[in-house]
Amino acid sequence: MNFSEDQILAMAPDDSSKKSGKELANPSKWTKREISERALWGECHGSGKLPYQTQVDMANVAFKCSCPSRKFPCKHGLGLLLLFARDKKLFASATEPDWVTGWLDKRGEQEERKTERKEKEKTRTVDPAAQAKRQENRLKRVEEGRIEMRLWIKDIIRNGLLNIPGKDISYFDTMAKRMVDAQASGLASMIRSLRGINYFQEGWQTSFLDQLLRIYLVLEGFPQMSTLSQELQDELMTLVGFAQNQEELKSQTGIRDDWFVLSKRVEEDDNLTTERNWLYGRKSKRYALILQFYVNGQIPEVNLIPGASVDASLVFFKGAAALRALVKEQYGMQSETAVEGLNSWKEISSYAGHIHASNPWVNRIPVIVENVVPVKANNEWLLKDELGDGVLIHHSFQSIWKLMAISGGRPVRLFAVGKENNFEPLGAWVDNQYKVLA
């Protein structure tokens, strides 16, 4: 599989690992550099007596190294893969040594054991009566919380949004905590996002009111769920905070496709890392959002590299126009990465309209659009298509000059996320090469 340096460095856990990885991407550092169909491995002299044994699973992109580092991947793994990306001729084809075979086989066994464990869990008997009782109690608590929250929202409307920017942070936090007590963590998180709005930015009232109405729609829709479609019921349950069992989801039939990784955005909050990966199925023409959460020192379940295409089976969370998905199984990487987008913003409006019609809560719609030109007019950056229609580029977009430089005033294929007339570009294709923008 061919990875670019950027793609490999995007896997680094931090800047110092990037730097050290680059340093180790030097043939003189490696006493052994070998490759098989399944893996890449090498031996690198470190501070210990024996060289570190580093290996990379090339089918599912995983790393293992005998060094004591807690970072993942470690600098040796990154260095070895970088070296391979720079010059494949440096790696001799060889039979996998025991330490490589052992690891790869163990990975296979672990997967099997995981599946067995899941099977067992499935067959584990649960007391339906106790489960129903627990559910009933929870629904009762949610209902109590819901009523309180409705009053809170009505108070806001009665008094007007004018005073909102002056409110103390506790104004939102208190209600969010109340929702956590009511076992409605989804609603709590929706409230917290009100706190995160930039009240110094022009047009904050629309952002605030949009989110307030989304919450209101959940509060109104929840007691009337039985009148709604199954998809909307699932969506509402998730929005309130009823988590979907991931193992159950994974037991469903997945959508196997060549999933092109469009973007990977990593955010760290305290000790928790949140990874948002946007994927696009080249055959299914479907978008998927893979969210991964892990604390420091933990390894993300899958390694997704922007610009690469992965042959994998995905299962989507239940809901209306569902975007969030899980990687059920990975089969390897794909060398073919070509994708095609929609031809105009009008087509995208129609596509987005269908999504909103089936799910009013969708806040960010992913789109690949062909032949758009970034251009500035009246102090606003916008993306204009060949028909002369366009959308505004989101104010928070930081890489506008990079996009301009890539485009050179010519139309480009673009991946962006947003809604209505406001989108944030996350990647662009130049001569069929994908460039990550954010």
Binding site: E5, R86, K154, G353, H356, P360, V375, V391
Partner: protein
């Protein structure tokens, strides 16, 4: 959407102040609107707003930008540099390795290649901070870069639309200095003419700054103007005098030369009972020195009790005239002049002054001859300046020759060298700095790495120091190795 704006305005003020109902509802949601009647004003408003919110987002249409146009960058004539070269440039930019950046840019420019477009904005931001790299950066940015400069006013480097006269008259201090420096480099006469146009109205500090810039390509062409200047400021006058004294054809330098010609001459005599001819230099005791010489800054009295007033005056004068005076005056080669001066103690005293004159007038033949033939112990104080006055291979060879005596000073001057050091010199320098790990930190290695040949990587083991220093040296050595690997990548990516 007008209706949504109405809703936002009403929500901003609140239902306690404004009725929240609306009548301008689109026809296709009129039916749903009719259903909203809960008798609770807040609920009614929230339901109405939810309906419009959903109507707005599901029915949103793109904006019309038919009249908005975008110019296009001209296609590149140059070819793009390799992915490997762009990859290493990314590393350089991430780590702000400016000395390597210069090297990368020079190589890219020499290959007539241009950088990947996505890296241009980052390069332009560097150019704003490092103006000395601006020309190279613009060169490798190609047509795409030129196009971007037109779009972003912050990147309006060297705007060709601004006339140089206009910039000189209206530009800010930095722009004017930059303009004069650039013009002086490419067209010294035009630079002088430009300076003359506003000279009378310039402040004293600016005058000094501009005069200093005249040192670039200073020649007899500037002399008439400089000698005619009548200034009040002491600092300005001192700078003018310094410039005049740097021009061999100036009245004052010629006056110094006249005094020296009369004072120092060849004396021919016999030695070994008249069997062989003996040639030496004779220094006259009766110096006839015009008062104008002393007015030009030559001290009459010696400040050292071991040096006579005459010796002091002559040494000052020797320093202030081009050393070629002695080739003409004594009709000897440079080597012979030096040998003649150092033949006797009385005249060897003037060798350091000759060394200073060689450096001052940038006479490379004299500089090299001083290093080759003069007694190093006599010209010791000038050795570093002499080496610094050389360039290329000559500089490198002499740096090696004198490294043992003055490693710290030579290391310092060699850091500002343009060309890569020889392997032998690099070995000497690295060996020296590795023995003084507390004085030479990572900053030093970042600056020195572009000058050190990559082949030194094979010799890194020989720099291992005592056990006590080994641990510290390992860190420095790792850093140097890392930097040299980057250098190697730069060279490989341009097949250099």
């Amino acid at each position: 959407m007008k209706l949504w704006e109405d809703i936002v305005n009403k929500a901003t003020l609140g239902s306690a102040k404004l009725p929240l109902k609306s009548v301008d509802v689109p026809e296709n949601i009129a039916e749903e609107y009719e259903l909203i009647d809960s008798k609770d004003p807040e609920d009614d408003f929230l339901r109405f707003a939810s309906l419009i919110f959903q109507y707005r987002q599901a029915g949103s249409l793109p904006l019309n930008f038919q009249s908005v146009t975008q110019t296009q960058a001209k296609p590149e004539i140059k070819s793009y540099c390799s992915a490997k070269a762009n990859g290493v440039l990314k590393t350089i930019l991430e780590e702000e390795l400016i000395p390597f950046l210069k090297m990368w840019l020079q190589l890219c420019s020499s290959r007539d290649a241009c950088v990947a477009p996505e890296l241009i904005p980052e390069l332009f931001d560097v150019a704003l901070r490092k103006r000395e790299l601006e020309t190279l950066i613009l060169d490798v940015s190609g047509n795409r870069g030129a196009w971007l400069c037109h779009l972003n006013s912050e990147w309006n480097f060297n705007s060709p639309t601004v006339d140089s006269n206009e910039l000189w008259e209206t530009g800010d201090r930095e722009d004017r200095r930059k303009l004069l420096r650039a013009l002086r480099t490419t067209n010294p006469a035009d630079a002088l003419e430009l300076l003359k146009t506003t000279w009378a109205s310039e402040g004293a500090n600016e005058k000094v700054t501009f005069l200093e810039m005249l040192r670039i390509n200073l020649s007899s062409e500037d002399l008439a103007w400089l000698e005619d200047l009548k200034e009040k400021g002491q600092k300005v006058n001192a700078t003018i005098l310094e410039l005049i004294k740097s021009i061999p054809q100036s009245t004052i330098v010629r006056a110094y030369a006249d005094v020296l010609r009369k004072a120092i001459n060849i004396r021919k005599g016999k030695a070994l009972l008249g069997m062989i001819n003996k040639t030496s230099l004779e220094v006259s005791d009766d110096l006839l020195i015009p008062e104008s010489v002393f007015k030009s800054g030559i001290d009459k009295l010696s400040s050292d009790k071991n040096i006579s007033d005459n010796q002091s005056i002559l040494a000052q004068l020797i320093m202030a005239v081009p050393p070629t005076l002695w080739n003409d005056h004594l009709q000897l080669s440079t080597e012979d002049v030096i040998r003649l001066f150092q033949k006797e103690k009385q005249t060897a005293f003037y060798l350091p002054a000759l060394a200073i004159a060689s450096v001052k007038f940038g006479d490379k033949v004299w500089i090299k001859s001083m290093l080759d033939f003069a007694d190093a112990s006599v010209i010791r104080d000038s050795i570093v300046s002499l080496i610094n006055g050389l360039s290329g291979n000559e500089k490198d060879i002499n740096a090696q020759k004198f490294f043992k005596e003055m490693p710290k000073e030579i290391t310092q001057i060699m850091l500002y060298q343009e060309e890569e050091w020889s392997f032998e010199l690099a070995k000497l320098v690295v060996k020296y700095v590795s023995s003084d790990i507390y004085s030479y930190n990572r900053g030093f290695y970042r600056q020195a790495a572009p000058l050190i040949p990559v082949s030194i990587l094979d010799a890194m083991d020989m720099f291992a120091q005592s056990d006590e220093q080994k641990a510290y040296w390992k860190n420095q050595s790792d850093e140097l190795t890392r930097l040299l690997n980057i250098k190697q990548q730069i060279l490989q990516s341009f097949n250099a």
